[in-house]
Symmetry: C2
Amino acid sequence: MPVEPINPPPRLLMGPGPVDADPRVLRSMAAPLIGQYDPAMTAYMDETSALYRDVFRTTNDATLLVDGTSRAGIEAALVSLLEPGDRVLVPVLGRFGHLLREIAERCGADVHVIETDWGTVFEPQQILAEVDRVRPKVLAMVQGDTSTTMCQPLEGIGAVCRERDVLTYVDVTASLGGNTFAMDDLQLDVATAGLQKCLGGPSGSAPITLSPAAVEVVTARKHTEAGIRDAGEVDHGERIRSNYFDLAMILDYWGPRRLNHHTEATSMLYAARECARLLVTEGMDAAVERHRLHGEAMTAGVRGLGLEVFGDVAHKMNNVVAVEIPDGIDGDAARTAMLTDFGIEIGTSFGPLHGRVWRIGTMGYNARTDAVLTTLAALEQVLRAGGVAVPPAGGVAAAKEVYA
Amino acid sequence: MPVEPINPPPRLLMGPGPVDADPRVLRSMAAPLIGQYDPAMTAYMDETSALYRDVFRTTNDATLLVDGTSRAGIEAALVSLLEPGDRVLVPVLGRFGHLLREIAERCGADVHVIETDWGTVFEPQQILAEVDRVRPKVLAMVQGDTSTTMCQPLEGIGAVCRERDVLTYVDVTASLGGNTFAMDDLQLDVATAGLQKCLGGPSGSAPITLSPAAVEVVTARKHTEAGIRDAGEVDHGERIRSNYFDLAMILDYWGPRRLNHHTEATSMLYAARECARLLVTEGMDAAVERHRLHGEAMTAGVRGLGLEVFGDVAHKMNNVVAVEIPDGIDGDAARTAMLTDFGIEIGTSFGPLHGRVWRIGTMGYNARTDAVLTTLAALEQVLRAGGVAVPPAGGVAAAKEVYA
């Protein structure tokens, strides 16, 4: 068969992510490659670390990229921290809490879970009470769980965990850049992210930051691989179960030793660096405020169309809203109509919410007025065509009120 | 600090990889993103599978991408095949054989190794005799080990292993596209690659193919993760130790079930698809012949400069040559001069060869006459400036003879 070059159809991606990457990020990936130890490459790596310190709001030296999607960052964090039998506590808000539990189980950890109904968050005190009961080595949490749109409050958790010698890990893939997050102020130990949400890039690179305490735990397990190890190099602790996700070795690659691990995914590093550069240039507070504004406009807009918003709206992430699918319309058919008639993608849902809500994102490059208003205008058409009574222009008018 | 956009210095990457990506591959990554379940996206995934069937020369349905560098593909293969305690046999030719051993050990396997001197290969009979002695579940091999430039002959190994119920895994990262390889003719079970060598792309995506027998072993261990599993879904076998590299789940994402695993690294998929499209359009035989021609020209060229070629040249990969660093010149200073004066990167070496040889690649987009002749011309200058007696124009003339 003759296969044509890549030429994707025009789309406006207003689901829970991935969303359209910023064109400047896409262009950065078309830059020529350079060698792994080229001074220009190691300078780019150092600059990327520095930029992500600003994005995560941390002074952690150990701030770098894992070469894989956001899920690779989660697994790198957990498999490097957790030895078989280690106790870990996972508060589960939605699908991605289940993912943390599942990854920790595969690491051989002794996993304890507390759950809250989808669409709600925990009080920090609930989590801390469970920390005192379970006494885990690691508390592993999701800040923003896109499956439910909820944003877990983190205030006060890190400080108490430090008093208890409990390490904290937070997955901020869905929330970073669009919601307030400050690694050091929150006294957290490890956080991981991805590019495909509020960072405005493609999936495929996972920024990660580790506190000195976390670095100590990880490097205490260092076993440099055969073939590149120095004569006389001594192994420590229980070997990390993964080579690819062995943060002790990856830190040696990103650190002054520059010891080769894998071949850095150069084009994805370019993208990750550009995502952070754009965010830091905008200012992290300004970026969060932009997501708050457009998220509020979208929420007002869907309500203006007569739709119900799912969950505890006071604890919703800025960058995504879940909307109850109204009676009488086929949710999947409506999504297909959005895509085929208007080129706009909105999201379906997982698990208990499947068939019950659509998820609509306003994040990264798409946290923009025109993207919000266009989506609301199209959704109005699709709802009406599907037999739902909709106030004419109700969505766009409500959003405009927020902007005014 | 004000950070500038990505703007790498001009480089001609003539090391053992990564090498310059084909500009068409780089441009493909600048294409806009589309959603994970967009019909255009699933069509790209299916086309990518079909193209890599041609590249690997296989009819395996299970032909897909792992979202990480080539090392991620190796780990996905081994962690999905190997349960703790499983016996695995690894013939070690160089650094990347050690890597297979190391990854298999971290999977908890019972790893048996045979080694050969760096710069040599095994007779297939040596490997098969060891298979009969060890009776492994998996024989894990490297076809082309860039650390030594050697290309392990694979003829006859797969067929005997199938008679013995031994699964075969081959890492073809460094060799695929530049050296003869035919998955099905060789009767192999799993092979993994990367884009950054003869495929002419950036590091960050790992094509993989699995035979029906390998798929059976992997899917016998399937445990769909909580949060997306169907009610009543039954788990099987010993759970794969990694979630990110769980090929049983990833196959459900690439297969007709389209069950969400991670968010596909869309831009890297674009790149991987374009790499394969260009190779298949050229024809796999033609691509191998191109690598043979330019590899032969480079080898003749370095000899024409009076340099010694390292190792068993009859079993060298087409796409890389290791050259003994001549007496009297500082190998690292010469590499720096190549980079700073001419913008050309050649490679250093690992382990026993460190400081003893340079590695010079002619692969992917850089398997070209102008790249070969320019490298030889620059190397002549650097050698002479370093005090090595060099026949004037000896390198370029010898390469031109190969081309004539």
